[in-house]
Amino acid sequence: MIRRMTAGFLVLALALLALAAAENTVELLPATPPMPRPVPEANPYAADDLSAYYDASAGEYQLPALTASEQERLPGIQQRWEAGERPKNSVLNLTENVQLSVMQLPLEQYEGEPCFLILPNRELTDEELLQVVDAYGQLGLTLDPGKVNWHNCMRGGGVEVGLRILRDDERERYSAIGGLYIRSGLRPEKPYTSLVADDGLGRVSLDEEAHNGLDEYRFYPARRLTDEELLQLYALHYGELAASPDEMAAYESQLREELHLLLGMPLSARRSDYEYVRSAGEGNLYGDDRTGYTTVFTEAGGTGRTWSGMIDITSGRLIEGSVTLDDRYYADGQLYSDIRMNPWDEAWTKIALQTVAALRGFEESGITEAWCQGETTLNDLHGTEVRVRTADGGVYRAEIAFVLEKVMTLRYNDAVSMACEDDYYIHQLTIEEVPVNE
């Protein structure tokens, strides 16, 4: 009897235990998922990371820092300033022909930096160190060498581009604004100022010798530049134009006609925003001093060919021009093998003549001779250059890539510009210019 009761109690206990375990089972109640933690959006206009530019190859006087000697002397100079000594001249906000300057920055536009230190490519004298200390002092700051870095200092032309470059949207708007500046007479409401502190935008012209050839340093704030500011920049760079909007339109028409006749440009090609009136010899040493109008066109609704050209604004005739017929290699050179062939093979002449005849708006009888000029390279792709002379002395230069056996780029020079270029190459070196081996 007792045995049966004990067994019964045991069973009951086990049953109760099971029930208790069941009741303690945790059930997940429905709940909203945790809110994602907000991630601060990166500022697309923040300063570029320039630290990569300052590698082991940078000289001591091009690193954004005080030298060991300057750091050693600095405490003494600081004490002298605190005792009331002042430099003969201030370097605060110097913007012209600068060797040494401390530029005040609106710190909300420069990621918390209150000033920017521009140092020359040599050791600072004690007087110059005092000038720097004084400039910082005028801003209510104390120079801490440990906090001087690429974000607030440039030395000896170490980096050319400033704290950041224009972003894509700014470049696109700059281009569009440039078009309005040239063709619509658009001008800024206020002129550009070199001082950074007034509006966050500024520039410093540099003593080139003190900055290893760098002539200018620009300040772009860590925010989107406005259209007005971009217009100020455009006006600063291009100044007063060499031609009125009506004259530019007339030049464009003349250039279109010449490129259509000589390089097969369709009438529907779109002009780029960049157009200039300048000396034909500007940017090269070929000695052509005619004044020309130049711009670039892109094919609309076609295969993306591009044309560039310059006309003589006096005669209206083409000085030089080119058409990129096939830019696959330029678009992505990594995809292309490279081979070399005989650049003097007459087969290339035939290809060049066919290409010129296909583009040229008048008869092939205008061509007087054609010859291979020799091996050339098209951005690391081997090829050959074939020249085709026309009755008026103009010369086409067809650049043929061996791997694709076709003309990639066709250039045109009138007789004068071709003679200038040839003259430059042929007479580039004279015996007097040969250096003596030491």
Partner: protein, 336 residues
């Protein structure tokens, strides 16, 4: 009851076994002994020859009649160092100084002034693939200002260039003889002249003659892949040079300089059948759009490429433009 169930169970198992193994055990149905299943008879037909052929492996593959090599392993060439030194310094030169440099490269010269000099160099990562060599006997800048030459192509004189030019044959033969003395002509490799130029168009430069040679393998040109040549991401640690040599002479001084890159080869794979050029051309036309130039000639060549282990091979291929098709397997090696 239990005893009855037991007997029924045993009978059922026996019947089941008989049903499953009837055909085999037919003769032994009444017996309790199991006879193992017979093994299948050995095939009377021998395996095809290709299956008897072992997979290619190191060392070299055994030669078989009727097949040709379709893949070679690319290795550094064996350049005759004595010949190199003799070409640079002459047979009687004394006091040649040797300097060892990066990647197993070696440079020789006679004095600190530098010239004449010669060298055997490897580019980074290419020590097991190819070798650059150089002989420089005269510099373009001469300290006494009495001699100046310039080998840039834009200094070429078009009217005196091309293989029809007066001294082209003689200059080319001199170049071939030099390359032969250096040991670059082997059973499978040779040099094909691809261009001849007379230089001296620029005022103040001395006239000289230059031939460019391309290395060939079994008479066919070598074409490096774009990935290898351009240092694509996966092979960026290997710096590849195109397999060409340029050699320049002048009437006054003879050999001025010779420099270039060369490879050696050893057989790796063979095949008994390859695509014909016509079949290859048809494949190209199927794949390449007509406006991409699929009417270009089809070239038989060796396609040189790097594998994931950064070893180089040369594969028999057909080329049209920038696209390559393997001749043996008919697979695309590189496309536009």
């Amino acid at each position: 009851m239990n005893k009855l169930m037991h007997h029924v169970f045993r009978l059922g198992c026996a019947l089941l076994m008989l049903a499953l193994a009837g055909p085999v055990f037919a003769e032994d149905a009444a017996s309790a002994t199991l006879t193992p299943l017979p093994l299948p008879e050995a095939s009377a037909t021998p395996l095809p020859e290709t299956f008897q052929t072992p997979m290619p492996s190191l060392p070299p593959y055994p030669p078989l009649i009727g097949e040709r090599v379709v893949v070679w392993r690319v290795i550094p060439p064996a350049i005759d160092t004595s010949a190199l030194l003799e070409e640079a310094f002459g047979a009687e030169a004394q006091g040649i100084q040797k300097e060892e440099q990066d990647y197993g490269s070696i440079c020789w010269n006679l004095s600190e002034e530098g010239l004449p000099l010669c060298s055997l160099r490897h580019r980074r990562g290419a020590e097991g693939i190819q070798m650059d060599f150089e002989i420089v006997r005269r510099s373009d800048w001469d300290g006494e200002r009495v001699y100046l030459y310039n080998l840039d192509e834009w200094n070429a004189i078009p009217e005196e260039s091309g293989f029809d030019a007066p001294q082209a044959a003689e200059t080319t033969e001199e170049g071939i003889a030099l390359l032969s003395r250096l040991g670059l002509y082997t059973g499978s490799t040779a040099a094909a002249p691809i261009s001849y130029s007379t230089l001296g168009r620029m005022e103040g430069t001395a006239k000289c003659r230059k031939t460019v040679f391309a290395e060939t393998l079994e008479g066919l040109p070598l074409r490096w892949s774009a990935a290898a040549l351009r240092g694509a991401e996966e092979v960026r640690d290997v710096v590849i040079s195109r397999c060409y040599v340029q050699i320049a002479f002048s009437d006054e001084d003879g050999l001025l300089m010779a420099d270039g890159s060369w490879c050696g080869f050893e057989p790796l794979e063979r095949a008994s059948a390859i695509l014909s050029p016509e079949e290859a051309a048809a494949r190209f036309r199927q794949v390449l759009p007509s406006d991409e130039g699929n009417t270009l000639p089809v070239e038989t060549c060796w396609f040189l490429s790097l594998n994931h282990s950064l070893e180089a091979t040369a594969t028999l291929a057909y080329r049209m433009g920038n696209s390559y098709l393997s001749a043996a397997e008919g697979v695309w090696l590189q496309t536009e």
